[in-house]
Structures are given as C-alpha cells and as structure tokens.
Amino acid sequence: MKSNTKKIKWSFFIFFIPVFLWLFLLIVLPHLELLRMSFLGSRGTGITLNNYKAFFTEPIYWLTFVRTALYSILVTAIVLAVSLPVAFYITKISSFRVQGLLMILILVPFWVSELIRVYGWMILLRESGVLNVFLVRIGLFKEPIELLYNDISMVMGLVYTSMLFMIVPIIGVMGSLDDALIEAAHDLGAKKLAIWKEIIIPYCMPGIMSGSIIVFMLVLGSYLTPKLMGGKNSLWFTEQIYNQIIVYFNWNQGSAFGFLLLLLSSLIIWVALKITKQEFTKVVK
C-alpha cells in the first residue's frame, strides 16, 4: 500500500483544484465584490456609506424590506401548517397501495417551472379568469371581480410555488418515524394533540428545519410571484434590487440592497437554527 500514497496525494489535487476554483471564483469573490461595490459611490468616488444611508432614510426602501421579511415568515408558517398534515397522511394514513402514486403526484409539479405555475393561477384568478366565469355562472358573483393583484393572491401564490420544498423533506423524515412510538403513546392514552407535540414534531424537526430554510429563502428571494400576482402598488424587495440594477443602472445602490437581503436571510436562518438547536450542515443534507 505504501507505493499508493504518492498517487493518492496527486488524485486529491484533481478533486480539490476544480472544486476550489468553482467555490472561490463563483461564490466567494463575487460576494466580496458585491460587498465592495456597496461601499462605493455611484460616481466613482471613494468609500462611502451613502448607499446604506439611503436605505435607512428612505421609508419606501426599508418599509419594503420589512414587509418582504414579515410576509416571508408568514408564508413559511402557512406552508408548514399545510405540509405537516399532508406529509402525515401520505406516510402514516394512506394505504400502501396509493402511497407510491401520491408520492409521484406530489413530485411531478415540483419540476414544473415557477413561471408556468404562476401563469396557471393568473388565468384562474384574473377578472376574465376561469374561476370568475365559474362563480358568475353558478350565481355566487353578480359580475366578475378582480381576484388577482392583491396581497392575499400573492401570499397564496408564494405558498403554492414553495410548498413542495417543505413537503418533500418532511415526508423523508416522517417516513422513518417508527409507528410503534405512536401506537405506544396511543395505548397509554395520549390525545392526538399530545402525540403531535411530544412525538411527531420533535422527531421531524430536521425535516421541518431544512424545509423551512429552503422555503423561507425561496420566498424572500422570489421575484416572479410577487411581481405577477401581487398588487401594483406594493413592491417586493427583490423588485427594488432589480429596479436599482437594471432600471436606474445604480449598481452600487443595488449592491447595498442585495447585501442587506443576504444579511437578513442569513440572520433569520441563523436565529431559527439557534432556537431549534439544529446545525446548518446537518439540516441541509
């Protein structure tokens, strides 16, 4: 085996160098550049805090930021509330015969692009949409009503487009939960609520956390759904970033906004992990 040691070292660099280049050139340096640009003035002058100052002094900027953060937390909570019973039904209640079919049905829309799914809701909900035609015909509405372009339709759209990223990891964990634990608790007289609180939720915590992190991050960084389904007067923070970078061509201001969004998402994920005592590298596995 001794003759192998030198070759093994050599193979290490074949693995290491491309991976290192990928992470260093495409992840580390671009984000350092984002940080650097955010401290530069838009007219090529030296280091300045003006871009961050603009964020805190213009209410429209920080209000959008707070709104985006709060709505992202709300959407994550709704998604969790819907996903837990669905995952529970598929892993613990449905008969084994339909279980596989339900899994495939869940996974297929997972791969259909966000744009098409949002478009589907647009032709369902808008004033000339399918739902309005239907509701007018059965007499529930006297005339078509605009159901799209408000905060409720936007939240629903965000729940819809991110839901599966919660259900899939929870199904993964819940599937390995031993039925005997639930049976034992039931035999000892535990109520359903107690079983959920004491057994199912604690056991599924890694799946819940990884789902929540991914959903939160997707919603926070979402652009399409708030833009196409949200109200015309209320912006999502990513739209502010887009406007700065593409519309006003103010890359420095846009960088500051981008960096703040990155900071916010890291902070909220870190707090959530601390509260639930989970580790980041284990959660995303």
């Binding site: 990928w22 819907v82 829309p109 369902l124 990155l262």
Partner: protein, 285 residues
C-alpha cells in the same frame, strides 16, 4: 391516528377531504393551463369556443402557433443549449466535489463544505447580481490593463451558463454524495489488493456504482437550468432563455401560445421526473 390504529370515520373522512382539496389546489392551475392550450380563442380564458390545434400548428396570419413562433422557438433552443452546457459542467465538477468531500480529508474541509452548500441559502437574485458585478469588474480590469476584451464576461450565453453552474453544481454534488456515502469501501480495497491503481479503481468500480446518481444529477441539473429565472434575469444577453421570454409575454398579456408551450413543458418535465424517479427507485433496491 395512523393506519394500524382504529380510527373514527369522521377523522378519516375529514382527512381524505383535506387531501382531496390539497391535490385540487396543486393541480388546478396546471390542468387549466393545459386545457386552454386547445381552446379556439384569441385569449387564454373561457368561454370554451371549441377544440383546436391552432396554438401549436397554425402558421398565421391571425393565429401564430408555437411551431411557427420564431421568438419562442429560438428561446427554447437557447434554453436547451444552456441547460445542456450547465448539466455537462456541473455533473463533472459535482462528481469531483462528491469525491472530495466524501473520500478525502484535508485542512479547512469544514469551511469548504460550508461554502459548497452556501448557494442553497443564497437567493438566486443575489447570486445573479454578484456574478454580474464580479465578471463586469474583471472585464473592465482586463480591458484597461491588458487590452483584452472577453465577450463572455458581459451578459451573454456563457455568463448565464456560469451563473447557473455556480449553484446547480451544489445540487448535483449533494445528489452524488448521497450515493457515494453508501458505497462499500472494501470493494476499493479489494481492487487495490488485486493491483489496480487509484484511477482504475475510480473508473471501473466507484464510477460504475455512482452511475445512477450521476445520470440523476445530470437530469436534475438540466431541469433546474431550463426553468431558472432569478439568476438568469441579470445575466441574460440578447438571446433570451425561455423563462425570460415567457415572462415578458405573461406580463404583457399574450395569446394561448403560452399555454401550448406550458402544455409541452409540463408533459415533458413530468416524463423526465417520473423516469428519473423510476430509475432511482429501481437502483436503490
């Protein structure tokens, strides 16, 4: 409570009703989108005016079907080329990364692993901007100091590939790592003892074992690239990809030709997803 315990009728009926509603919610927009692709109307909405294939086949002048729609066809071709390139590069680097993180030990492995999974929690919009800023700065530097003008550093086909590669490689790495982790390393030792060198072992034994996950990773990379919007938005040049092109049409309102495209995309991604699932399950057993 679960299938092995006695359940009240009300509990089961209630749960089934909830699951039915859930699947209705999940599929309604997709089905409505697909059905309206065949409606003989100028708008993607009801009333139903009869079945037609015009939105696929018609050559105009009133209706231009998908197969005669130059802008959408060229966007599909661009997306296809980008997805193939991203899938190719990220599968290679993803495989190397899986070997690096599963089989090698080195200083700062934890830090590098953290960087590798970081793209999962970086919003796609931020990643797009960072790469745009970084490549732009490099481009300016090279032109000012060395007089080299590298076209791929400005928004273009290759910049989209670079941007998508940067985070899709993470997903591919995780898919391949999951399988490599289960690999029985005594097989390698046996081959070493029989006189194989490191590369023969990797080529003939480990990669053979990894093949289903490599194919699966490549398929996932292809799909993720094909439907990516957030990162691509900032990097796209004159040839827009399909999601970008569709977005503009959805935003400004368009004919049911979008439904025709959605129909084809939903059907084909479903086939790829189910095939991928089927292959994955078969190899697991």
């Amino acid at each position: 409570m679960i299938r092995t315990l006695p359940n009240s009728k009300g509990y089961l009926t209630g749960f089934r009703f909830f699951i039915l509603l859930f699947f209705l919610f999940l599929f309604a927009p997709l089905i409505v989108t697909m059905v309206l692709a065949f409606n003989n109307s100028m708008f993607p909405s009801l009333p139903w005016k009869g079945f037609t294939l015009d939105w696929f086949l018609s050559a105009g002048p009133e209706k231009i079907g998908l197969f005669h729609d130059r802008s959408n066809l060229s966007a599909i071709a661009t997306s296809f080329k980008i997805a193939l390139s991203v899938s190719f590069f990220s599968t290679i680097i993803g495989t190397l990364a899986a070997f690096l993180f599963e089989q090698e030990d080195f200083k700062f492995k934890g830090l590098l692993y953290f960087l590798m999974i970081a793209p999962l929690v970086i919003p796609g919009v931020i990643l797009g901007i960072s790469i745009l800023l970084f490549t732009n700065s490099i481009g300016i530097f090279l032109e000012d100091n060395l007089g080299i003008d590298l076209k791929f550093l400005t928004p273009s086909f290759w910049l989209v590939v670079i941007g998508q590669f940067s985070f899709i490689t993470t997903i591919v790495t995780m898919v391949i790592s999951a399988r490599l982790r289960k690999f029985d390393r005594t097989l390698e030792e046996a081959a070493f003892n029989l006189g194989a060198n490191k590369f023969e072992v990797i080529w003939f034994i480990t990669l053979k074992y990894l093949r289903p996950s490599i194919i699966g990773g490549a398929a996932i990379a292809f799909l993720m690239s094909f439907e990516n919007f957030n990162t691509t938005l900032f990097l796209v040049g004159a040839d827009s990809t399909l999601p970008i092109n569709l977005y503009q049409q959805v935003r400004d309102g368009s004919t049911p030709v979008i439904n025709a495209i959605s129909f084809i995309l939903i059907i084909s991604t479903s086939i790829i997803a189910v095939a991928n699932l089927y292959v994955g399950n078969k190899k697991e057993k």
